[in-house]
C-alpha cells in the first residue's frame, strides 16, 4: 500500500497512544486552509474539467484530483489535458475549451476584482465602463462560464474594495440576474478569511465557514454588504496528514501558496 507519492504509508497504528512514526507536521497555515477550501469545491464533481485560476485554486484542484476526486480533468494552463504528474492525456485548444464550457462539464474557480452579495463578479474595469478609472482584463469568459456550468470564486485579499455593494461591470452573472438560466450555478466563494456560499432564501451570500483564527467580526468588517451569518459558524476543516504532505512535499514544495495568502 502506498500513497500518491509512491512512498510507503506508515502501518496502521493499533494503539493510538503509540508515538507517531514520522516527525510531527507543523500545524496548517492559513494558505493551507485556503487550499483545502478550494479543493472541496471539486469534491464529488465527477468526470469534469476543473479550471482553477490563481495559485491556491490550482493547488486545490490538484489536491482534489490526487485524493477524493480522481476523475477530474486538469489542463496545463495551455492546450493540453494532463494528469497530476504532467502526463498528457488529451488536447484542449481554446476553441474546444469553449465548447466544453458550453457543454457544462466544467467547474471554474475565477478571480474577482469586485463581487457583490448575489455573486455578480467584475474583472473588466473599475468606474464608468465608457471611460474607466482603471481598465482591467475585460469580461473574458466570465459570461459564458457563469451561464453554463458551476462557478466558484477565489479572492485572496478579502476587503471592502472587493466585496462591494454593487459591481461596476457585471462579467460573471449573479443569482439576482440569472433569470432562471437553466445551468447557472454559483457554488462557493473562498477568500483568505473563510468560505461563503449562497444557501439563503434569496440566494444572497452566506458565511459558510471561517478559517481557524478568523472571527465573524473580522469578516463583517471586511465586507461592504450585509452578509448572512448563521448562529453557529463552523471552521474550515483541517487538512488530513496525508493532504498536508501532498501539498508540502508533492504539489507545492516551493511554498508558492504562502505568497498568495500570508499567515
Amino acid at each position: 500500500m502506498s500513497d500518491i507519492t509512491g512512498a510507503p504509508l506508515p502501518p496502521p497504528t493499533r494503539t493510538p497512544l503509540l508515538p507517531p512514526t514520522r516527525t510531527p507536521l507543523l500545524p496548517p497555515t492559513r494558505a493551507e486552509y485556503c487550499v483545502i477550501a478550494c479543493a472541496e469545491a471539486w469534491r464529488d464533481a465527477g468526470e469534469i474539467l476543473a479550471s482553477p485560476m490563481g495559485l491556491i485554486p490550482s493547488i486545490g484542484a490538484r489536491l482534489a484530483r490526487c485524493t477524493f476526486s480522481p476523475d477530474l480533468l486538469l489542463t496545463d494552463g495551455e492546450a493540453l489535458l494532463v494528469g497530476p504528474d504532467g502526463t498528457v492525456e488529451g488536447w484542449l485548444p481554446y476553441r474546444q475549451h469553449l465548447t466544453l464550457a458550453a457543454g457544462g462539464r466544467r467547474h471554474v474557480m475565477m478571480g474577482a476584482s469586485q463581487i457583490d452579495r448575489y455573486g455578480n463578479q467584475n474583472i473588466s474595469c473599475i468606474g464608468d465602463w465608457a471611460r474607466p478609472a482603471r481598465q482591467l482584463l475585460g469580461v473574458r469568459g466570465a459570461p459564458v462560464n457563469t451561464l453554463n456550468h458551476a462557478t466558484s470564486y477565489w479572492i485572496p485579499k478579502h476587503s471592502r474594495r472587493v466585496f462591494v455593494e454593487k459591481v461596476d461591470m457585471v462579467c460573471g452573472v449573479g443569482n439576482d440576474r440569472a433569470g432562471g438560466a437553466p445551468f447557472h450555478h454559483l457554488a462557493r466563494v473562498v477568500s483568505g478569511l473563510g468560505v461563503f456560499d449562497f444557501a439563503t432564501p434569496d440566494r444572497s451570500m452566506r458565511l459558510a465557514s471561517l478559517h481557524p483564527g478568523v472571527t465573524v467580526e473580522e469578516v463583517r468588517e471586511a465586507t461592504a454588504f450585509p452578509l448572512a451569518v448563521p448562529d453557529e459558524v463552523p471552521y474550515t476543516r483541517d487538512p488530513t496528514a496525508a493532504e498536508l504532505r501532498l501539498i508540502r512535499e508533492v504539489i507545492d514544495p516551493a511554498d508558492t501558496r504562502s505568497r498568495e495568502v500570508a499567515g
Binding site: E78, A79, L80, W91, P93, Y94, R95, L98, A101, A102, S124, C125, W129, A130, R131, P132, A133, R134, Q135, L136, L137, G138, V139, R140, G141, A142, P143, V144, T146, L147, N148, M169, V170, C171, G172, V173, R177, A178, G179, A181, P182, F183, H184
Partner: protein, 279 residues
C-alpha cells in the same frame, strides 16, 4: 509578398481581424508594417495582446471588438489600458464564446449565431445593439443572437506556409486563425518560413495544415515575425523584451524600435538584448 505590400492593400476605416491570442503567435511584423503606414480609423477584431496595445497607442483604432487584452505573463496590456482610461477608443466588449461564435457566423455567411453567453451580464448593457433570439422549438429558450463578425481583412502568423497560402501551425493551439481567414474578404498570412508544398507534410501530420489557400490573398515570409509574442515551437515569448515594452513609454519604445523597417526592428532587438546582457 512583403509586409508593406500587404498593408498597401488595407485602407483606413476597414474592419481588420488579427489572429493569435493574447501574447501568443500574433502577426507582429504585419502590425509593425501597419504602424509604418498611414492606415488608421480601424475597427479591430482581436483576442487582444500587444497588437492592440501598439495600435491603440499609435491612435489607429476607432473601435475595438474584444473580450480582453492581455500580455499573458503581464496580465494587463499597459498601452491598451491607458487608451481606455483616456477614452481614446470605442469598445465592443463581448465574451470569449460570443467572439468565437461571431467569427463562425461570418465564416458560415450567417447573420448571427445563437449563444447562451452574455445574458444577465453587462455585456448586454454596454452593447445596446445586441439582440436576443428565442428558440422556435419546445424549450423556448432565449439566447443572444451574436452578429457575424465580418472582416474586410485578416492578418495571421503561422510557422510554415507554401507560396500559395496553405498555412501550417506547429504549436499546441490553432487559436482562431483559420476562422479569421474564413471570416475575411482578404486574409494575409505571414510565416516563419515559406516551404515547398510537399515539405509541409513530410514530417508532420496533415492536421497541422490550419489555413487553406482559397481563404488567403497573400503570403509573407517573416522570420521571427511574431516577436515578441510566442511562436511555439519555433520560439517562446521574449519575456525580457515584452517587459521592456510594458514598462517604457510608447514614444520611447516606438522611437527606438519602430522607426525603421522590419530588418531594423530585428537588429534593434538584438542590440537591446546585448546591452541588457552587459548591464
Amino acid at each position: 509578398m512583403s509586409a508593406d505590400e500587404v498593408v498597401s492593400r488595407l485602407e483606413s476605416g476597414m474592419t481588420l481581424g488579427i489572429g493569435g491570442w493574447g501574447s501568443r503567435r500574433k502577426p507582429m511584423s504585419l502590425v509593425r508594417a501597419l504602424l509604418r503606414s498611414r492606415v488608421t480609423d480601424l475597427t479591430v477584431v482581436s483576442c487582444g495582446g500587444p497588437d492592440i496595445g501598439m495600435l491603440a497607442a499609435a491612435g489607429r483604432i476607432r473601435t475595438l471588438v474584444a473580450a480582453f487584452a492581455t500580455l499573458d505573463s503581464i496580465p494587463l496590456e499597459p498601452h491598451y489600458r491607458a487608451a481606455r482610461e483616456r477614452g481614446a477608443l470605442e469598445l465592443m466588449e463581448i465574451d470569449e464564446a460570443m467572439f468565437l461564435w461571431g467569427l463562425r457566423a461570418a465564416a458560415n455567411r450567417l447573420p448571427f449565431m445563437p449563444v447562451r453567453a452574455g445574458l444577465g451580464s453587462d455585456v448586454m448593457r454596454v452593447n445596446p445593439g445586441l439582440r436576443t433570439v428565442t428558440s422556435p422549438y419546445e424549450d423556448g429558450e432565449t439566447l443572444v443572437a451574436m452578429p457575424a463578425l465580418r472582416l474586410d481583412a485578416a492578418l495571421v502568423h503561422v510557422s510554415r506556409a507554401d507560396g500559395r497560402g496553405n498555412g501550417q501551425y506547429l504549436g499546441p493551439d490553432p487559436y482562431f486563425d483559420d476562422l479569421f481567414c474564413e471570416a475575411a474578404e482578404a486574409a494575409y498570412v505571414s510565416c516563419e518560413r515559406i516551404v515547398d508544398t510537399a515539405e509541409l507534410t513530410k514530417e508532420t501530420a496533415p492536421q497541422t495544415l490550419l489555413i487553406k489557400r482559397h481563404t488567403v490573398a497573400g503570403v509573407v515570409e517573416s522570420p521571427r515575425g511574431a516577436h515578441f509574442t510566442s511562436c511555439v515551437p519555433d520560439y517562446g515569448r521574449d519575456e525580457a523584451f515584452q517587459k521592456q515594452y510594458a514598462t517604457t513609454s510608447w514614444a520611447e519604445f516606438a522611437g527606438r524600435f519602430l522607426d525603421g523597417d522590419e530588418h531594423a526592428y530585428q537588429s534593434a532587438v538584438r542590440d537591446w538584448h546585448e546591452e541588457a546582457a552587459h548591464e
